[in-house]
Symmetry: C2
Subunit: 339 residues, 2 copies
């Protein structure tokens, strides 16, 4: 067990006090360039790394941020979103020597508790809030406890927490516009968890677009994003009296599940039914027919969120920023509406 070098070791070797070493190492004024270089050189030579415990105790940042994911395991496994999002977050964090604490919890209350605990234990400098649901109290909780947080979603009025979001409404509109341009007049939407804020935003945008175009019908069915519920919803839609000629899905798993249901009911895609997936991944590419999807740069999204977090904890910047809207990638699952 090797003894960890401390700033005291550096101080001894440099012939200065630990205070001076601390200032030098943290890039603060109060040391001459010559001394600073000497200290930096010694630190590098003996492989010094700060003890975050000591730092944290002394009231400084712990250089760690938390991410809590409130979804059941089986859903997570199939959703490419989170893993890509995490990759993006990580790319920025690790470049800035900041750790990511991850917790997967089953529900909202557990998520709240996890944040409280992490903060009480001084484990994190801030938290990334994803999957905002409609009446989500987390922004208020963070504000109340004074926890720096970045909202992955629309900014909350009255709270100056930074937010990073993508314009879901515009994305949904572009999909509807596209389908209408192909001649579809009966378009359905299979939505994700109805409690999530962005699901509600998308559904509202869908209704608005449908009204604007004067569509014949525009039913919406909510699901939990799983293959099972996607299948059920699709079956219900395709066996209804005036069945839609196009269906949009809130993720890729359900859109692919729809392909199976169409096959089962002998409804050909895209001749009799057009299908659009709300997330893009290899899953859409690998199908027959390949699935038209709304492609987003999720890794980049994660990176932006992480950067917002770092800005927030380093200088308190709380800007709301929008990431580019997804672009529709037309593939073989969409075509002109049957007349």
């Amino acid at each position: 067990m090797v003894k960890r070098p401390t700033i005291a070791d550096i101080a001894t070797r440099a012939g200065v006090s630990t205070g001076a070493v601390s200032y030098a190492l943290n890039g603060r004024p109060g040391v001459s360039p010559a001394t600073r270089d000497k200290i930096l050189a010694i630190a590098a030579e003996i492989g010094w790394r700060p003890s975050i415990a000591a730092r944290s105790l002394a009231g400084a940042r712990v250089h760690a941020v938390g991410l809590i994911i409130a979804r059941p395991a089986r859903v997570l496994g199939m959703e490419p979103f989170f893993m890509q999002f995490i990759s993006g977050v990580e790319s920025v964090l690790s470049a800035n020597r900041t750790a990511l604490l991850l917790q997967v919890v089953p529900d909202h209350d557990a998520a709240d508790e996890a944040v409280r605990f992490w903060w009480a234990e001084r484990r994190i400098d801030g938290v990334l809030v994803t999957d905002l649901w409609a009446k989500d109290q987390r922004p208020e909780l963070l504000a109340e406890l004074g926890i720096p947080g970045v909202i992955v979603g629309r900014p909350r009025d009255g709270l100056d927490l930074p937010a990073v979001w993508s314009d879901d409404a515009a994305a949904v509109e572009s999909v509807v516009d596209y389908l209408v341009a192909l001649g579809h007049r009966r378009i359905a939407r299979v939505a994700g968890l109805p409690s999530l804020e962005h699901t509600q935003v998308r559904t509202a945008a869908f209704h608005a677009a449908a009204e604007r175009h004067g569509l014949e019908s525009a039913p919406v069915i909510s699901t939990d994003y799983t293959w099972e519920e996607g299948t059920q919803a699709t079956r219900k839609l395709l066996t209804s009296i005036d069945r839609p000629t196009a269906i949009t899905y809130d993720n890729d798993v359900m859109a692919v599940a729809a392909l199976s249901v169409a096959h089962e009911l002998a409804i050909s895609v895209p001749e009799q039914l057009s299908i659009v997936a709300g997330d893009d991944s290899q899953l859409c590419l690998v199908q027959h027919p390949s699935v038209t999807a709304l492609a987003r740069d999720i890794v980049g999204y994660g990176a932006r969120v992480a950067q917002a977090m770092l800005d927030l904890v380093s200088d308190g910047t709380t800007t709301a920023q929008q990431v580019p809207t997804g672009t529709l990638v037309p593939r073989a699952s969409t075509a002109a509406a049957p007349h």
Copy 2:
């Protein structure tokens, strides 16, 4: 900004010293049951949580473990394995009030550096080592630095690090046996990253099984687990002179990609070609035909690994244990070999 309660606060209210409070809170002897209960009650009442920083500084555990994933983002996004594995790990860790530090790095060196840093910064009690490659030096690195680690894979000779692994060889054998029973004599294998230890174990088992059955041909092609390379490998195999009648893949993404290639080459599945996926997920279920796969309880695997880690750091237990081998789930992509 609320003032955090400390053990000093508890001590004052209980009328004892901080030392006594510490003993009581940590379940150590030296306090009477009455005093202990009183202290516990006060702690709960004022919402005390330990400062891991102070704990860590004083030399105790930090109640956090690290997991480093060395894979590029685009691969991770599509692989259901890691997210499920993490869910499993998390379920055990969070039940034991232990945090998970996650880092996604591009290569081996970065992984080593990340471990060193975390350890030097006293951020973790131990580390989970996944994706062991053939000449992996990480077990030795951990032993050398005295870092508690659990190996997700075969135990290393000479090092007493606990290991949790699944018998890949037996799984591969069962697949070959199954295909041979269906009459296949030309079976190919599309492997994952050749540098990974379990890929080598599987390939060796595949060769052994092929020899045992006296197969006509048993080619192996290595890939990086992506859809692209799976497609290429499949195309190469299916356009060769004595093309295989069955192909096994090291994950599900590539097996599904194979379906596309077979379609493209007008080779019907399963009549002319049987396909087996090495991992099971909704992806396999959603296809036409649905894909026969080797199903494993990945969430359970993660849970076992996490438990081994907790055992290791709490009482130094270093047992090697095996998780159940995957079971073959026959679906529509496999059938009797064409004669």
